[in-house]
Symmetry: C2
Subunit: 399 residues, 2 copies
């Protein structure tokens, strides 16, 4: 028996799963408990807010019954809940108006950090802009924003006009919004709890003047918490969202978190446009390796000897691509997982140091002289994303 | 001029930084503004809570003035704030009692996801346990818990006794607590906003019966938000915390986020025990590579030809270690950053597929036959962590 989540009412059955558990009122151990009905109706879904100090059977702050239900008696929030304005948030109308000029909205998600969400978001934005599209890139990673650096616009500031906040433009048709532009120092820690993060995301949705956009790409932090719930809530309220791209790496410890993210999409009812597997095996020119002999206990650099042997292959030996699994797909990786969860698999991008360098320097992988080895792999995936967002042109993505 | 964060009062000066900005009341543009005093006294620090729907000059829900200050008039939270119990949280006493049997508490942090926090936390716990220490490992990554898999105890459940929640034991002297043990399905998405996450972390601190521990290692999600603020608040209230280990990878886009994390430590006044640089160059036996020729447009597998050339080096060629930078330390990496920020640098762990495999299989890198190439590098860092936590034995870490 797992430990209960949240409270256990004093009159609860044995093995109560806890009032905050997803199983509250539904577990087999709940049968016959006097709290079953109240527990079942307590909001569990992502959009039903329950303050942490609420009574056990809080109807949720957004409920018409908030502050007035039987379960609210004695709750410290009862007065505030009863007097809080009900009905739809008036800001949602402003958000819908702001985003009415945006054709496609694509969320980039992952349950796991460091899988390349921001790398992929940045390169997707570069690729779409290179095709002449009007592109916006919004970074809702409030505590760890990487997008400005990856687009080469660190240190820029947001400007305000009577139209709203103006994005920072990388080029005429590629604008970016990130909290990084608002910090006094680039190293400042943003030590904010959820409500403040949500407030800023709302400002981004409501106050940024994007103008006419073909694509708005939204990069998110890892997880399934405040930022994700808020952004989805706002996007759904704005009337349309193409869906979410989910980025993973091949190893099972990452894929496990990413399964949760796809279940998040299902839970909040947004389409999953597909899974991208990043860091699928290292690809690096052979000439960029050093070789070490550790067989004798001590480490010996044998690069000269290995190079001499390889030179017999001809002068082009250094450009041969050496490939190895780094994060081995022990349980089938992203493709197997996508199939099992019934979502499209869009392709693999190798672990490519040249792509990492492009991102460190804020450059597009799609420039002719970028030298990015994984350019072709990225391009194929971008093409599939465009197809998914334009079903008339052969794709299959719901709007 | 950056865009304002939070609200701009109607009587504010031009270029108001916004009432929620860290600069509120302090920016040069605030001089002479009628709101300066109120803005300066609004809580900005990590522990001053301001509800997202609060008035502009909220004194913070923990303030004695909460619900009663002039700025509270008309705020929907005024009644709840005024009636909420003030003074220290009574749970803090329970937490202090629970943790009184724990000698050393070490937080593992990173501003960036996917840098190997959980890998390092898991291997640190294994290493300490192998030295005969009593070890607890607490996973406060609520939305993306990886610790159970990395310790080979996925699918276990937490048990309850009259002593509290019992951790899941990997071996006699190594217990683990994670939300993953509480899920109905391993793939379940935990779609929780901050308050619920904080509530569970409090339960972990208050209700888990660790017994006598030499070390409690706490693995965190990336960032500087709810989980981090809560756990630090609870640990500081419990009376002692050795400090935080900060994990990074070498590339600047990761290091930039990690600088924020070290500034978080400074802001919340916890010692930084040191920086660990992970994925510092790939190290992989040469025999595990494939070789590809892409010079002709088409890709050709030339592994046989390259192998033939390498065989001239003798039969041990396949065991030679091939080393290359994957995430290049373009701005000096972790060591340079640690020096610049005046915190200890504890060492480098290579990007080591054999370590990844050990984690996928829930195994310790310190077993004799683990085959983990980076074992020696990890061991050196663990030794430094122990020194840092035991200043009498030559280390230098504050308790």
């Amino acid at each position: 028996m797992a430990a209960p989540v949240g409270e256990v009412p004093t009159n609860a059955n044995a093995q109560c799963p806890g009032t905050a558990s997803e199983q509250a009122g539904k577990a087999s151990s709940c049968k016959g408990c006097p709290n079953t009905a109240a527990c079942s109706s307590t909001p569990k879904g992502p959009f039903g807010e329950v303050p942490s100090n609420a009574n056990a059977h809080c109807p949720g702050t957004a409920s018409d019954q908030a502050g007035k239900a039987d379960g609210c008696k004695g709750c410290p929030n009862a007065a505030a809940c009863a007097s809080a304005p009900k009905g739809p948030d008036p800001d949602l109308e402003h958000i819908a108006a702001r985003l009415s000029t945006v054709k496609h909205k694509v969320l980039v998600l992952s349950g796991k950090g460091g899988v390349g969400k921001s790398t992929f978001s940045a390169q997707l934005a570069f690729a779409l802009a290179a095709q002449g599209k009007e592109v916006g890139l919004m970074d809702v990673d409030i505590c760890g924003p990487s997008i400005p650096k990856m687009l080469g616009i660190e240190g820029e500031e947001i400007h305000q006009s009577n139209m709203g906040w103006s994005p920072v433009y990388v080029q005429d048709n590629l604008g970016v919004m990130s909290i990084q532009f608002m910090l006094q120092s680039p190293d400042e820690a943003v030590v904010w709890r959820g409500p403040r993060k949500n407030g800023l995301i709302k400002q981004f949705m409501k106050d940024v003047h994007w103008g006419d956009l073909d694509y708005l790409v939204i990069d998110t932090p890892p997880g399934t918490s405040d930022e994700h719930i808020s952004i989805v809530q706002f996007l759904l309220a704005s009337g349309s969202l193409d869906g979410a791209l989910v980025v993973t790496t091949p190893q099972e410890v990452a894929v496990a978190d990413v399964r949760k993210e796809i279940n998040f999409c299902k839970k909040v009812k947004i389409p999953c446009l597909g899974v991208v597997e990043n860091m699928s095996g290292l690809e690096q020119p052979l000439g960029q390796f050093k070789f070490l002999d550790r067989s004798g206990g001590e480490e010996k650099d044998v690069t000269a000897e290995v190079t001499a042997a390889l030179q017999q292959l001809g002068p082009q030996w250094a450009d041969l691509i050496a490939r190895t699994e780094v994060f081995a797909p022990t349980a089938g990786g992203g493709e197997h997982m996508a199939k099992a969860m019934n979502v499209p698999f869009l392709g693999r991008v190798p672990l490519d140091p040249s792509l990492g360098r492009a991102c460190e320097n804020g450059k597009s992988a799609f420039e002719e002289d970028s030298g990015v080895i994984s350019q072709a792999a990225l391009k194929q995936i971008v093409d599939k994303v465009i197809q998914q967002c334009n079903p008339g042109a052969g794709g299959g993505c719901k709007k």
